[in-house]
Amino acid sequence: MITLTLFDIISFLLRAARWTLLLAGIAFAGGGIGAMLLLLFRYSWPRFGGWFVRLYVDLFQGIPLLLQLFLVFFGLPLIGVEVSPLLAAGTALTLYATAFLVEIWRGCVDSIPRGQWDASASLGLRFVMQMRLVILPQALRVAVPPTVGFLVQLVKSTALASIVGFDELTRTGQIVANATFEPFTIYGLVALIYFAMCYPLSAGARRLEGRLSSSR
């Protein structure tokens, strides 16, 4: 048993929380790029793209994130890639975030009236320009609140990376709890730190949503 002051414990946990944020950031950036590519694919090639995106989303939303992590962690070595916990967690969370973001953004693009597509097409714009100049700027406005809401889910999901041995907040909490025999305090603090990261995002998403619906 090791005795640590409360100050030591909190500073350990806060330093670990930076890894949680980093992982969430990687997954959000990767997922954002992945989702944008899938979105372009879906609308530029409606039939096959639509089918493929549907399958991808159903698959990744229909299996536990924990198992996605395990599959990446144990699957990548089979194709000869050396995996670190960060690579495994980053990859799995990116695939996971892609599925959710493409679903959210697809809803936003679909909410743009059909006439916007037709009008921009009749002005002679090709697909990429239609998307860039007409559809996406309008969809973006609708997309911000649910995207911020999803960030909460993503930050919480990074906790599972602790299981494949990535030293983020939850795993550091486990290690400190095992060393100090004070699980009640430690897990309480861990929960509070997650709350401090997530609550501003949830509250922000709600406010943005309120502003959006009142501006209509």
């Binding site: 229909g62 906790a159 709890a177 897990y187």
Partner: protein, 221 residues
């Protein structure tokens, strides 16, 4: 580098896998029953309750929705014994899943209640019906019909998230997979097969609930 896939470990341990799937579904069923019942009470209290009750429910919902399930589980299983509440791994899992599901469902059910037109309640009052009767027989059925798809999604999310309880040694489906792969060193095959089982369970649960919903709420939409 060649790797030969070998799924014989899965076939040899089919009994174990079925047991694990049973535990996962059992946990989900208990958490769903308790969670839905509690969230109906919670939603009613947060709609019509006293000021302190409303604040308490809001605090509970926000706290649960903004922390990861695995931390809630660890807090209940490892943390609560310091307060003298010692739970078995199975009890801790059911409690954590229920606490988690309830928080999400309170929000869903409350949205459903708010979507029921006020006229329904006023008309019932005008007919001389009592408030309890009105809530359970008039408002609640319509509220649940409004949000049924969202409730089903939340139940399925809870089932998928319950994979985490393997970490406190509950012998659910994921724990069985850990066991098989530690015996056979066939980690990828094992987790791949388990993933398919989860997918199958999620799809069949949704199908079942959709059918049940069509029967339960027939003619309401």
């Amino acid at each position: 580098m060649g790797y030969e896939f070998d799924f014989s470990a899965i076939i040899d341990n089919l009994g174990l896998l079925l047991h694990g799937a049973g535990v996962t579904l059992g946990l989900t069923a208990v958490a769903t029953a308790c969670g839905i019942a509690l969230s109906i009470g919670g939603a009613a209290a947060s709609r019509w309750g006293a000021g302190w009750a409303r604040r308490a429910i809001t605090a509970y919902v926000e706290l649960i929705r903004n922390t990861p399930f695995i931390v809630q589980l660890f807090f209940i299983f490892f943390g609560l014994p310091s307060l003298g509440l010692r739970l078995s791994a199975l009890q801790a899992s059911v409690l954590a899943m229920t606490v988690n599901l309830t928080a999400y469902c309170i929000e869903i059910v409350r949205a459903g209640i708010e979507a029921v037109p006020a006229g329904q309640r006023e008309a019932s009052l005008a007919l001389g019906l009592g408030p309890v009767f009105i809530f359970f027989k008039i408002v609640l059925p319509q509220a649940l019909a409004n949000v049924y798809p969202a409730l089903v999604s939340q139940i399925i999310i809870t089932m998928l998230e319950s994979a985490v309880v393997s970490q406190i040694a509950v012998t659910d489906l994921t724990h069985v997979a850990d066991f098989i792969q530690s015996r056979t060193y066939r980690a990828f095959e094992t987790y791949f097969a388990i993933t398919l089982i989860y997918l199958l369970m999620a799809i069949s649960l949704r199908w079942m609930f959709d059918r049940a919903g069509r029967r339960l709420f027939i003619g309401r939409h």
